[in-house]
Subunit: 399 residues, 2 copies
Amino acid sequence: MKIDPERFLCDLHELRKIGASGIGKGVIRPAYSDADIAARKWLAGRMSDAGLRVHFDPVGNLFGLAEGPSILLGSHTDSQPEGGWLDGSLGVIAGLEVARAAHEAGGPAVSVVSFQDEEGRFGVTTGSAVWSGQTELQAADLMTDHDGVTFAEARARMAEYASGFVDPEQFKSYIEMHIEQGPSLDSSGDQIGVVSDIVGIRDMRITFKGQQNHAGTTPMHLRKDAFQALSAFNVEINDRLADIVTPHTVWTIGHVALHPNASSIVPGSVTFSMQWRDADADRLAEMEQVIRTTANGVSDKTGMSVEFGALLWLEPQTMDANLRLALEAGAKAVAPEKWRTLPSGALHDATNVARLMPVAMLFVPSIGGISHAFDEDTKEADLIAGLKVLGSAVTHLSN
Amino acid sequence: MKIDPERFLCDLHELRKIGASGIGKGVIRPAYSDADIAARKWLAGRMSDAGLRVHFDPVGNLFGLAEGPSILLGSHTDSQPEGGWLDGSLGVIAGLEVARAAHEAGGPAVSVVSFQDEEGRFGVTTGSAVWSGQTELQAADLMTDHDGVTFAEARARMAEYASGFVDPEQFKSYIEMHIEQGPSLDSSGDQIGVVSDIVGIRDMRITFKGQQNHAGTTPMHLRKDAFQALSAFNVEINDRLADIVTPHTVWTIGHVALHPNASSIVPGSVTFSMQWRDADADRLAEMEQVIRTTANGVSDKTGMSVEFGALLWLEPQTMDANLRLALEAGAKAVAPEKWRTLPSGALHDATNVARLMPVAMLFVPSIGGISHAFDEDTKEADLIAGLKVLGSAVTHLSN
């Protein structure tokens, strides 16, 4: 099989024009927008030209199907409201090029997919979540975007193209190529990242309730200041987590809502988000325990109350060992000394697809670690290296 | 002169009915609202009945003027959007009763005032600020409330009653009686507080700018997390201020705005309020220095930038020694062993009036330290004790 980097880059730039935010910039292609649907129709044409059978499912997932049992490659072509040109598109177009080359060579059988709403206009990785059974279609249909549009209304925009759900049994495995969206490869100077795991995520709202009061007349020693409780919690949680984390573990307080949030009032309560991610489910559970204990300790010490919101979570997903070996063999051949394994801190469709078949992912660097922004970019040489590793892995798996 | 506690309580409860939030509850009488204007018209009638000459000035300050050089007593009758029944009203009605009793007794000459917009629908203590020259009328006219109504438009609602500004030269001194609005007297069990100083205030917005990023893909050691900078600043400022403050000094971070304030994004910037109050101007300046140095230190250590907003301030105001002696004599007589001196952590009209004449304040307890809330209250015995101290001080000053 002879993959063609020029043809791949040409398609990638063609797709970039649909919903472009400007020449040489990012894209505006939220799920089910005119631009997203136009991109999928264009892609369907390219799939057909590549000898694949085009199939839209009821939620707008677009498959280019090879005959018989095949390897599935792909990602998504919808974007954030202000998205980069490579996020999702890279994995789809790389998959298309490999499938096309394979078809031209008379094998192996390679199918391609662009999942719908990976970027979460409605839920989280909605298209692959429904297809994989992670989320029921009936439940998804009730989800709404920020404007109150339901998923059912949105997917009806693509109803004219839709057939039934594709039977996953025809696929032997799934490989998703993606930009890293973080700085690890860019800062280490590596060209290829073979993903070890997609991290699990836990997200919980925590509320400290103290006593709202006058910021002039309330002496310091009589205050029950919710911001001070949050600050004390933050210091203690940073200390205590340091003992149990790895260099890949992350935790974030990204959302803070003080009440009443006025400069002359001692804040009476604060609700904040505590989010943590790791590739190991046991570590995630241990961190949860430490977080709850620490928050309870702070509330005891300060005479305040603490409330924990619902825990949102997705389990970590370990990549399939065989698929990883194939990707590593490709990486060694294409980018010797310039590849490494790393976990994915971002979520991807692969997490859902893992319910159905073995999955793996490979990353190429994001310049400056930038993603979900118009100025997201990757060096052309790295894009081509990734394509070659993907092609090599497919060949490896078919031998 | 024979002051009458029953008459005083009766007037206080009459006033409570105007703009009442419910029977036996607080009041809704923001400056220039229908209820505020109705309360002022009612008060003008009571002043007139008490033998005082009624005078509204161009901003709605209401004076009940005695003949010749007089002592001025009062406070304000406007309220917070959800105000207590005593905040401001107590000082005005106590002043009315003392003036009425003095008039009946044929002297001394006592005038009464209800300043307008003490609660800051537009500025800060706006009515007394304009009258005292702290704020120019032209500048005040441009101020707007949260709905975009200008001060000029609001005060036009009272234009039909308005004459010119009252000449302050006719007043020998100003005494303001007020509820404490804090917990000091309530917790010590004292009945009377003679105010030593009204604290000065400094308020400054501080912004840390780091780097907004993905909360999954950005390793901890590469983050420039604005919330972490705020937390580090808070811990350090608490430590460093501890060395230079008194038990009466307060400092507060009451307003926090993270950006973009989303649980899955490492916050790129935070703007927060830093407010501090003390009765000593030198200490306020020293605290400012420590705050700036600490914020700069945090930004240096974390590789972030820091910006300081405009410094808002009012200088501390020491109460007049002679007036204090008169109040202390009254307190010793009325509430022996149950009075003390204390600073005022809240701002009052007296700060502005001090530009024009000697001023002093006396406090009665707030139950539970509650104020700026419908359930603000004070024991009846404490209200009467305060009235008696005020009357005693006026007699003392006139002998």
